[in-house]
């Protein structure tokens, strides 16, 4: 029971031809029933994009791990502190708003930590901050909710079991593109803090898929307001659901990421992250109540 996950990056054919490094990077950690993942896509125009991407993603995870451990410690000592802090008359609607704001604050702080790390690295190495430019996707998920942020493009898609089969995948954010398809925002952009998209989504999702923009055009129907294309996600969900140790059984994912069929569609670096929450069969139904989810979420975040 709990989360299982796999993350793989594959260098794009255009980068291979020009003997460049893979500029995508991703990492994740699972503590208890909480999963934290971060994926960064180094900007092609940035000299040390590969270093920037790694530093951004790792700093995000490090910071969120610290927050979690601090929360965990506090929970132990002050078991009942949290509920008394909340007004009891707040409606479900503004509860989600309050949580959204809280989540925003946490990710804002995370971003600030990341920028400080990048700046520090840039100064020490004699680089400019823009040499370390990358996009960033970060999320924290339990079996009952997901809190996520995105700067730039790429996508996070979750499986939504209770919806109809045609619409059982949901994208959390529209990839951030300007008027022009190749323009996006990076962590190092001046407006990164304002452009950061944040969401809190409560629901009993089991399946989460995140990827860099190298996979956007094959996974998402761009002309229809960025709707996930189910035949892309269904086999991936099936694979992660049926694989006990995905990190060790990665043949399928590697074969897919390096397939000629995929490389004909994209010459960019590609990172694919899949995770699945295994529930015990006798466990409560997937329809856990909205308020249950929120209670859990409050405890994790407030």
């Amino acid at each position: 029971m709990g989360w299982k996950a796999i993350l793989r990056s594959s260098i794009g054919t255009s980068h291979q031809q020009r003997e460049m490094l893979c500029q995508d990077y991703g990492n994740y950690e699972i503590f208890d029933q909480v999963l934290v993942a971060a994926i960064a896509d180094g900007a092609g125009s940035a000299k040390y994009a590969d270093i920037g991407a790694k530093l951004a993603a790792d700093t995000a995870i490090l910071h969120l791990r610290k927050l979690y451990l601090r929360w965990f410690k506090r929970q132990k000592h002050q078991k009942h502190r949290f509920p008394e802090n909340l007004h009891l008359d707040i409606s479900e609607h503004n509860l989600e708003e309050i949580l959204g704001a809280k989540v925003r604050k946490i990710f804002q702080k995370t971003l600030k930590k990341i920028i400080i790390s990048l700046e520090k690295y840039a100064v020490e190495a004699g680089y400019s901050l823009n040499d370390l430019a990358s996009t960033l996707l970060v999320f924290v998920a339990t079996e009952q909710w997901i809190a996520a942020m995105q700067i730039g493009d790429g996508f996070i898609v979750i499986g939504v079991p209770e919806k109809s089969p045609e619409k059982n995948y949901q994208i959390l954010f529209q990839p951030d593109k300007g008027e022009f398809v190749n323009e996006t925002t990076f962590v190092t952009s001046e407006n990164a803090l304002n452009q950061m998209q944040v969401c809190f989504f409560s629901g009993s999702q089991s399946f989460i898929c995140a990827a860099t923009d190298g996979l956007e055009r094959v996974a998402i129907i761009t002309r229809a307001n960025w709707i996930p294309y189910p035949p892309f996600f269904q086999p991936l969900e099936k694979y992660i659901q049926e694989t006990n140790n995905p990190e060790e059984e990665d043949t399928y994912i590697l074969a897919f990421l390096n397939s000629e069929r995929l490389n004909a569609k994209t010459d960019d670096d590609k990172t694919l992250f899949l995770c699945f929450f295994d529930r015990p069969s006798e466990a409560k139904s997937t329809e856990s109540s909205f308020l249950d989810c929120l209670k859990l979420a409050k405890q994790k975040f407030l």
Binding site: S14, A43, G44, S45, N130, A133, D153, K177, G178, E179, F180, V181, N182, E183, T184, T185, F186, T188, S189, E190, N191, D213, R217, V218, A219, I220, I221, T222, R223, A224, Y229, P231, F232, F233, Q234, P235, L236, K238, Y239, E242, T251, Y252, A255, F256, S259, R261, L262, K265, D267
Partner: protein, 223 residues
């Protein structure tokens, strides 16, 4: 694939993003003879060069506008949907009207991209002239510079020997002054353009920066 493994993911069928470029070419009387021949060969070289890149072949959309008179000799299309036109030198140099025509053509193209939900790169306008405008060009210059400031397009101006470089300087955006073509080396110029389009169509940049383009060996900035 081993037995029991799920099928590979199927792919969403999205239209390729487009990378529009307008070639705005002076085919006035003064271009007759060797210049127009070299220009035509350069145009051919552009088509051939873009075709060598799989991604650029799908994404680069080129339109050719000649002046004067101002005429659309090749409407927007990908390299395989279009043919390099053969220009003939004739008439005067209505540069102002030609530029405004190109700007309107681009706007219309963008609207049709939007209507079909086709994503696109920042358009390029590539002007080549060997003369001095024979019409009122002030309004065209204002529009070029405003659109450049608004990051609506990238405007490049190239003067061929005999061009009124002072006027071109007032038309071209101040951050990208006009270039003087070395001799009649249109071929190198178009090969550079093709190489630049290949970079653009495979690039991703922040909203505040620009793609670094290949070095310009075929022209120089006149001070």
């Amino acid at each position: 694939m081993p037995v029991g493994q799920p099928e590979f993911p199927e792919f969403a069928d999205n239209p390729e993003p487009r990378c529009p470029v307008v070639l705005l070419l002076d085919a006035s009387g003064s271009m007759s003879g060797e210049p127009i021949n070299e220009l035509n060969q350069g145009i051919n070289a552009f088509w051939q060069s873009v075709k060598q890149d799989a991604l650029a072949t799908l994404r680069v959309e080129v339109a050719v506008v000649k002046f004067g008179p101002v005429r659309l000799v090749q409407d927007f299309g990908t390299i395989v949907q279009t043919k390099p036109p053969k220009l003939e030198a004739e008439s005067d140099t209505p540069l102002g009207a030609a530029i405004e025509y190109a700007l309107d053509l681009l706007e219309t193209r963008k609207e049709s991209y939007k209507a079909s939900s086709i994503q696109y790169y920042r358009p390029w306008i590539f002007l080549v002239t060997d003369g001095a405008p024979t019409d009122d060009w002030q309004n065209a210059a204002t529009r070029v510079r405003q659109a450049e400031t608004d990051r609506k397009h990238l405007f490049f101006a190239v003067g061929v020997e005999g061009a009124d470089m002072d006027t071109l300087k007032q038309i071209a955006p101040s951050q990208r002054p006009p270039l003087m073509l070395k001799g009649l080396d249109f071929k190198s110029m178009f090969e550079w353009l093709s190489a630049s389009m290949k970079r653009v169509s495979a690039s991703r940049v922040g909203t505040e920066e620009q793609i670094s383009l290949p070095p310009v060996g075929w022209g120089e900035i006149q001070t």
